[in-house]
């Protein structure tokens, strides 16, 4: 996996961005249904990869990721609908970029708010707390009238297209890859593998956990913004626990910490429900069974490497 030359990364990124731009010129030739799926795949890749930063790279549990997505979605929608530009104005891309970044920043601020107090909690408890926060965010949005409350937020311009979505996918992958290969990034892996040993070599574990959380939240917010500006109508029920759970499934099935694995499973798990559209009522039953079976047979996911036994095994009475 480390076969790509890390020094050429920036070059690869520029090439990828150019490619995305090129492809997006042809997007109108594509069957709208397939186009929609491709966009959803891209958004899910960002969601799953951003959760992978928190879960897979830093080893923290987060079951409330949809909450960050929701914040990004609503925050970016508020910005872009507050500014009235003439149609096809040259400023549009900048407005969209600004809205997306604003959504990401709002989401990451929330990540900071949640992360700092909670990251000292142990595994199960952190999971429940993040779940709780995800729900609280949703309930708050549901009760805010200026955001449309339960009725939802309408009238969002459809800014998202292939270039924006896959451009951001490229940027995120570039970032994760670069992090993993740098000396700085090894701090994350050390924290994930063994916090006590990491502290013993001078790594500030809390700092790394918070950075992971905030970064993951930022990109979940970006994904939310992309989503909002594609579906043009959002409401709080789209960002509930089920959504968080779907993202968790993508990361777990792909293999926590594996960049490629998570991408592939995001692709598969976006296409699967569409393919099973006829059996919509069975979808969640199949999903949950799939999850149980994978956990029982191959918990490291499709591409996951090593699972750190020591880190999670909590024998009563273990000590340093």
């Amino acid at each position: 996996m480390m076969s790509l030359n890390p020094h050429r990364l920036k070059l690869y990124l520029l090439a990828a961005l150019a490619l995305c731009g090129g492809v997006s010129f042809f997007q109108s030739y594509l069957n709208p249904y397939y186009y929609q799926i491709i966009i959803y795949i891209g958004i899910n890749i960002i969601l799953a990869s951003s959760l992978n930063i928190i879960n897979g790279l830093a080893g923290q549990f987060s079951l409330g990721h949809a909450g960050f997505m929701a914040i990004g979605a609503y925050a970016s929608a508020v910005i872009s609908t507050s500014v009235n530009l003439p149609p096809d104005s040259l400023w549009e891309p900048f407005l969209f970029l600004g809205a997306l970044i604003f959504g990401g920043v709002m989401a990451s601020l929330c990540g900071l708010l949640v992360g700092v107090p909670c990251l000292r909690l142990r595994g199960d408890y952190l999971a429940i707390t993040t779940l709780g926060f995800g729900e609280i965010i949703r309930v708050i949005i549901q009760n805010l009238d200026f955001l449309g409350a339960a009725r939802g937020f309408t009238g969002i311009t459809k800014f998202s297209n292939f270039f924006w979505v896959y451009g951001l996918v490229s940027i995120l992958i570039f970032l994760i890859y670069g992090l993993l290969n740098s000396t700085y990034g090894k701090g994350f892996l050390a924290v994930r593998d063994d916090e006590v040993a990491a502290e013993a070599i001078g790594i500030n574990t809390t700092y790394y956990k918070v950075v992971a959380f905030v970064t993951g939240a930022f990109f979940a917010g970006i994904a939310g913004g992309l989503y909002a500006h594609f579906v043009t109508y959002i409401n709080p029920s789209q960002f509930g626990f089920i959504k968080s759970f779907e993202i968790v499934v993508m990361v777990v099935v792909g293999g926590m910490g594996s960049i490629v694995g998570v991408i592939i499973s995001a692709v598969l798990l976006t296409i699967l429900p569409e393919a099973l559209r006829a059996m919509a009522q069975y979808r969640m039953v199949i999903y949950s069974l799939l999850l149980i079976v994978i956990m029982l047979s191959r918990p490291q996911g499709l591409f996951g490497g090593h699972i750190n036994w020591r880190r999670f095994r909590r024998n009563t009475g273990s000590r340093v």
Partner: protein, 254 residues
Amino acid sequence: MPILSLTNCTIQFGGVVAVSDFSLAVEADALAGLIGPNGAGKTTIFNLITGVYHPLSGRIVFDGKDIGAKKPYQIANLGIARTFQNIRLFPSLTVYETIQAAFRKHLHCGFIQAITRPPGVQRQEREINEMILETLDFFGLADTRDKPALSLAYGIQRRIEIVRALATGPRLLLLDEPAAGLNPSEKADLMALIEAIRVQYKCAVLLIEHDMRVVMGICRQIAVLDHGVKIAIGSPAEIQNNPEVIKAYLGESA
């Protein structure tokens, strides 16, 4: 001027007093040993020094600074490194990456720079790479560089853990039972390694050990702990003849 001094440190867990009124001074060039029967509190003292536990009372001063209330990573950055009784390597990292993680403190960059990789950061990364390769070479680990650390033989894992600790550039190295699980020839290598480290890295070494041949062989000074209390301190010869020490290990003779 001792580089580390503990003064009257006490810590208890629930109703059990693990360490009581413990004092110790370690010189900057010391090679000292901490011995005692099982459960005496030796690892607890290591944990006190490295900040995993905080003493209920007493002071811990390192390099002139009071470290009694500091967090483990802060203490590590001040210059105390350690190994663990049960080897704690990073399961998903290769040997190279393990040492790289330890060299993290030589990299001066924040999150944004880590992502954008300006030329300054790239240069530092190159320098760190040099340092890692040099270190691996010095300790005979060059050919295992890209292997997962946990896939190697136990003796080599122990060595990696020590090298990882050294990579942080410590002034004091704490070794917790470094000879456990090693065969006699590996133990001899270990003893030579510790001596070499002291010379090359100019750091003090404090080790916990059960193997008396290792302790008596390399330590200049030994402190003996029993039930959380220091019962003796002195040179290997003095310790071997100390009746309190003999009583603690072997019990009263009839």
